[in-house]
């Protein structure tokens, strides 16, 4: 029968080994040759856009890269789906945006802020998502 000492060795050994592999894989996936996160195309506008995204907790209603809340549409590939003009209108309008009854907060962003958020979405759209993009965008239907 297993002794307590062996049980402890199993715990400590398993933890150390898997943790080291985990760190190794993390380094591997962000290494230059393996990176697919579109890191090289991050511009200042993208960074400003990300900050606006966080400051307003857009993720509290929407998902992006499949992460966030389930109250409002997934925004990965949104530019492809709606076009820049539509998105700009949503972001800059001073009244609640609610074309289907459900309301979005009226942020009333300036034109520059809207441009920064669009740059952020644009950057998101060029990330290699291992096929998730084809599932969330109807335009990508059949590409797979």
């Amino acid at each position: 029968m297993l002794s307590k000492k062996q049980a402890r060795a199993f715990f400590l050994g398993g933890t150390v080994v898997t943790f080291l592999i985990f760190i190794g894989l993390t380094i591997y996936s962000f290494s230059k040759s393996q990176d697919q996160s579109n890191d090289e195309n991050i511009t200042e506008a993208v960074v400003r856009g990300k900050k606006l995204w966080e400051d307003n907790n857009c993720m509290g209603c929407h998902t992006i890269l499949g992460e966030g809340a389930y109250y409002a549409p997934e925004l990965t590939k949104v530019i492809e789906r709606r076009g820049e003009g539509y998105i700009k209108a949503v972001l800059t309008t001073p009244v609640d945006w609610a074309p289907n009854g459900r309301k979005m907060v009226a942020y009333g962003f300036t034109a520059e802020e809207a441009a920064d958020l669009i740059a952020f979405f644009d950057w998101i759209d060029d990330i290699d998502l291992n096929g998730f993009d084809t599932v969330v965008s109807p335009l990508a239907k059949g590409e797979n």
């Binding site: 307590k4 715990f11 398993g14 933890t15 991050i42 809340a69 009854g101 969330v136």
Partner: protein
């Protein structure tokens, strides 16, 4: 109760229950919004309600874990807490930071990073608070007469949870990296170090409630937490499938996360077997209900419902849909909410001296909250499957699909009402116990 300083735990539990009550109110706001009634939108938009709902959840669970540690560590280490005064300072500062954060969410003072919405500036206060807590616990343990495996596993869980929190504070310009390291907190908490905390509390409760030999229980505790880390660390990969990182995670995450239910299965089997084996049955039946309940429901919510969408082929379609919310509710409820309610049910009579071990109210609280939560899980699940099918398979418009799911949120609200009544009964029981008192001290340890 064996040591006077264990009474501090009571106030952490009271804070915990207060925040739990508030959490439920914000849950209703979101449930109604999903059902088409968003009358509060101007005052409390959905993103505010959501940040408050999930953060209150985390804070009430942490307050519950801290209370558990303040109760368990002195008893395990066989000495008083090193400083009761500092423990109260820690309690009050925890409450203050929590209130600032929650109020801030109503005024756009937040960082929109799911589950980690607390702004960085407040994060530093959180860090100071947790350092104080860990200091008190670890010094007590270190100076104590004995260092049991139960106490070590519990403290290790709390310490690692604090360390992992730091990775969520790293600044990144890339959304992908931000998300990648956010999971070092969120996933490695709930599917890693929090399981150590749960395991530690569970083992303490089983030792007390069943009378099975400590050596036997603690041996299995090591096996369980061993399985947890063995599967859970690399299992983090199930969040890395579709966020813009290497395909290697599809394989690694798929295999290891599929093994994660084993740890929860082991926990359930362990609890049930120790209960069967136990000779000495403690009279506190309600504590036993919650303890066994936690071990079993966590296997269903985390183990089975987690497994349901963890393979990359399935997750491709369910990622970021209401299916996730279904699993999130039953997993958090079974594993962490129920274990906190279990340690409260066990310790409250010991701290207050009022031995309300069995009551219809207490049993109703258990059954109504559990049946209500399972009903909510089914409602989320049906809505989620409808969403996945219509939106991701048939490519229907998001809002068209949402209209189809409104009815499931009406069902959700009905089940949530049942759940809430159960919780109110639990609160009444809590209140009826009265305040902790030194008169409840046991002269001879049992």
């Amino acid at each position: 109760m064996k040591y006077k300083s264990q009474k501090v735990a009571y106030w952490f539990f009271a804070l915990s229950m207060l925040l739990f009550g508030l959490q439920i109110i914000y849950g209703f706001i979101m449930g109604f919004a999903h059902a088409g009634f968003d009358g509060l939108h101007a005052a409390i938009p959905f993103n505010t309600a959501r940040a408050v709902h999930t953060n209150l959840l985390v804070v009430w669970l942490l307050s519950g874990f801290m209370g558990a540690a303040y109760y368990i560590i002195p008893e395990e280490a066989q000495r008083e807490l090193v400083s009761v005064k500092l423990a109260y300072v820690q309690l009050i500062s925890l409450a203050i930071v929590g209130v600032i954060a929650i109020v801030g969410y109503h005024f756009n003072y937040w960082e929109g990073r799911k589950f980690l919405e607390i702004p960085r500036s407040l994060d530093y206060l959180v860090v100071v608070n947790v350092l104080l807590f860990l200091g008190l616990i670890l010094v007590t343990l270190f100076k104590g007469k004995r260092r049991t495996t139960t106490a070590l596993v519990l403290s290790m869980g709390l310490l690692f949870a604090a360390l992992l929190y730091l990775s969520g504070m790293l600044p990144f310009d890339s959304q992908v990296k931000d998300s990648f390291f956010r999971w070092w907190v969120v996933h490695l908490w709930v599917e890693g170090v929090w399981e150590l905390i749960m395991g530690g509390i569970l083992s303490f409760l089983l030792i007390k409630l069943t009378g099975v030999d400590r050596e036997v229980i603690e041996k299995w505790l090591y096996v369980i937490v061993g399985l947890t880390f063995l599967s859970g660390v690399l299992g983090t990969g199930h969040h890395y499938y579709y966020i813009g990182v290497n395909k290697i995670w599809l394989i690694v995450g798929g295999i290891f996360s599929a093994l994660e239910p084993l740890a929860f299965l082991a926990m359930a089997l362990f609890a049930v077997n120790m209960y069967r084996k136990g000779e000495k049955k403690h009279p506190n039946k309600l504590a036993l209900y919650w303890t066994l309940g936690a071990a079993i429901v966590s296997f269903i919510g985390a183990g089975l419902l987690g497994f349901a969408h963890t393979l990359p082929q399935t997750n491709l379609y369910t990622h970021g849909t209401l299916v996730t919310a279904m699993h999130g509710h039953l997993a958090f409820w079974g594993a962490y909410a129920m274990i906190v309610l279990a340690i409260i049910s066990y310790s409250l009579p010991n701290m207050t001296g009022r031995k309300l071990y069995e009551s219809t109210r207490g049993r109703m609280a258990f059954w109504m909250s559990n049946i209500g939560m399972i009903g909510m899980t089914v409602a989320f699940g049906v809505a989620g499957v409808v969403q996945v099918y219509l939106e991701r398979k048939l490519k229907m418009e998001f809002m068209e699909v949402q209209k189809q799911t409104e009815i499931h949120f009406v069902v959700l609200i009905i089940c949530a009402t049942l759940f809430m009544i159960g919780i109110i009964l639990y609160f009444i029981d809590f209140y009826k116990h009265g305040k902790p008192t030194n008169e409840a001290l046991e002269v001879q340890p049992t």
